[in-house]
């Protein structure tokens, strides 16, 4: 299974109540292609849903875990700065 995105474990834990609720929340998502974190609107789930992608969780010191256990549906990548608006 190819993991394209990372989430911060700490932020993920803070949003754990949203798992599987179809609620759209804002989280930082790292695209592993360019290694840039982007604030994004996502839905998180603990099983694949239509249009979702598996993710891994990055711990405070870079430890990567829970690969493929959770999934996000990327709704929108938010502008990173005023210049992007």
């Amino acid at each position: 299974m190819k993991i394209n995105y990372w989430l911060e474990k700490k932020e993920f834990e803070q949003n754990r109540a949203s798992i599987g609720t179809n609620r759209v929340i804002e989280m930082s998502v790292m695209d592993r292609e360019d290694k840039i974190w982007r604030k994004s609107k996502v839905e998180i789930s603990d099983q694949p849903i239509k249009g979702s992608q598996p993710v891994a969780l990055m711990g405070p010191f870079g430890e990567i875990g829970d690969e493929g256990i959770y999934h996000i549906k990327l709704i929108e990548v938010l502008p990173q700065s005023e210049e992007d608006l």
């Binding site: 911060e8 700490k10 930082s28 790292m30 360019d34 290694k35 840039i36 974190w37 982007r38 990055m58 405070p60 010191f61 870079g62 430890e63 990567i64 990173q80 700065s81 210049e83």
Partner: protein, 503 residues
């Protein structure tokens, strides 16, 4: 033009120490992996002419500061025109000599770093092959750079090397610790006045600038002067496009921008020198990028923090002298170069070895040193201090080990100070729950002090059985001078030569 990174690359290539790679390589782990494996066996530096995902001609060089375990300064010596075969003593003596003659830079009207100018939305950091160094990193980093800022109250220009995180196409986050001049200037002068701080990050150019930027200087000292001294020629500077900051004319890439008061962005984690993680992802100093100027076909220099890779060698090579101006400024009651040594094993910031006379230089000498070292900005990362006798050679680690293992009584000569918060840290934006992660080694750690000095007069009057203590000076000199006549090719390293090294 002066000596620049291209001259250095050419010198390394001529010496058979740099290999050009024309096949495409990825900035994502691949290029750094070349650099790290090469560092393990003293292998070559690499110039990658084709890097995935960046405009054609944007190149990447790695390993140019990598030396060998015995001579970590080998390529730095080449960069500064010093004989790379010099032993440690000769290297430090030559570097100390040059550092003692600083030269003011000169301003020029035109410069290669202005060959391409991109302003506003055109300036995109992702056009350059900033690398992703290791699997536990939270993003892409530039670990060798010259971050230039200016004191708003004087002519002092400060230049430092920090972990620079590429946050997006037009945002950078700088990981600077609280003891640095950077943090002091920004938080105490610009933020306090609610003013944006103009900032420039210079990449490439004369390696002397990069080396000077890695040294910890006291407030008021401009690293350009030091770089001029190391090169034996004034650095050439040109005015930035968006501020009055002077930047190295022969740099490869110049990133200009501002830091707005109290603006922070998440940064980290990053595997830093010696394998430690420099903390969790948390807010650090945010730079808005407004302009990038660069040479045609710019060459980005990348360094890696793995053991014996470039950043590691760079720190080891300047460890002993890189912080000495700071000690001089603080007026520590010790002689520099002969009485105090920051070990290479700990980079520039972890272990200090200090010589102490028996009986003590003056009552309370040791306590004075401990107080100064643990309380002063710039010195507080030193968390292990070892005191030994005056006849121990600061240049010889085996001397230190011998003292540690023979003169130290574990019951009373190991002192552990309580964990302390360094008062210079400005970190109001840190959540209290995150403080436990925040660079614990430099801020909250306890200090360990080893008193490995002789506690009583030795019976025979000779404290340590070594070449320097067992024979009269006349005999020592006779042996050294006749060494070649005895048929040995390699010169003996006569420890006493270290005594001539001063800064």
């Amino acid at each position: 033009m002066g000596y620049d990174i291209r001259s250095f690359i050419s010198d390394l290539k001529q010496a058979g120490e740099l290999v050009e790679i024309n096949e495409e390589v990825d900035w994502n782990l691949e290029a750094p992996a070349y650099s790290v494996i090469s560092g393990r066996f003293g292998g070559p530096a690499f110039l990658f002419n084709k890097v995935k995902g960046v405009p054609k001609g944007h190149r990447l060089v790695t390993g140019i500061f990598t030396g060998t375990r015995r001579r970590p300064y080998k390529r730095l010596a080449t960069a500064l025109g010093i004989d790379p075969t010099f032993d440690t003593v000769k290297w430090y003596k030559e570097l100390a000599k040059r550092m003692s003659i600083p030269m003011r830079p000169v301003e020029v009207a035109t410069a290669p770093c202005k060959e391409v100018i991109k302003m506003g939305k055109e300036a995109n950091l992702l056009d350059f092959p900033f690398t992703y160094h290791s699997v536990a990193d939270g993003g892409r980093y530039q670990m060798i750079s010259s971050t230039i800022i200016k004191d708003p109250d004087s002519d002092w220009v400060n230049m430092g090397n920090y972990a620079v995180s590429i946050s997006s196409g037009n945002r950078i986050v700088i990981h600077a610790d609280g003891h640095t001049n950077f943090v002091a200037l920004y938080t105490q002068k610009y933020e306090a006045r609610n003013r944006s701080m103009p900032i420039v990050i210079a990449l490439g150019g004369d390696p002397a600038v990069s080396i000077a930027a890695c040294m910890v200087m006291p407030p008021g000292v401009t690293e350009y002067d030091l770089a001029g001294g190391m090169r034996g020629k004034p650095m050439e500077l040109i005015r930035a496009e968006t501020s009055d900051i002077l930047v190295p004319a022969d740099a490869e890439i110049i990133i200009e921008g501002e830091m707005r008061p109290h603006e922070r962005l998440p940064e980290g984690p990053k595997i830093d020198s010696f394998g430690y993680s420099a903390g969790p992802r948390m807010p650090y100093y945010a730079m808005r990028v407004h302009c990038i100027t660069h040479r045609k076909d710019p060459i980005l220099t990348d360094v890696h923090t793995a053991t014996n890779a470039d950043a590691d060698c760079l720190l080891k090579a300047i460890a002993r002298l890189g912080v000495l101006p700071l000690y001089k400024y603080l007026g520590l009651p010790i002689k520099f170069g002969t009485q105090l040594c920051i070990t290479e094993a700990g980079g520039t910031s972890q272990h200090a070895l200090i010589k102490k006379k028996y009986p003590e230089d003056y009552p309370g000498f040791m306590q004075d040193i401990i107080d100064k070292v643990t309380g002063a900005p710039g010195l507080n990362p030193l968390w292990t201090l070892c005191f030994t006798d005056d006849d121990v050679n600061v240049c010889d680690m085996s001397d230190w080990y011998e003292a540690m293992f023979t003169q130290l009584n574990p019951a009373k000569d190991i002192i552990r100070t309580a964990p302390m918060m360094v008062p210079t840290i400005e970190a109001p934006w840190i959540e209290p729950s995150d403080l436990t992660y925040y660079s614990p080694a430099t801020i909250r750690s306890s200090r360990m002090v080893y008193d490995a000095t002789t506690k009583e007069d030795p019976p025979q009057g000779v404290k340590r059985a070594s070449f320097d203590t067992l024979f009269p000076e006349k005999v020592q000199k006779w042996v050294v001078e006749n060494w070649a006549k005895l048929g040995f090719k390699e010169e003996p390293i006569w420890n006493k030569s270290w005594l001539d090294t001063r800064f």
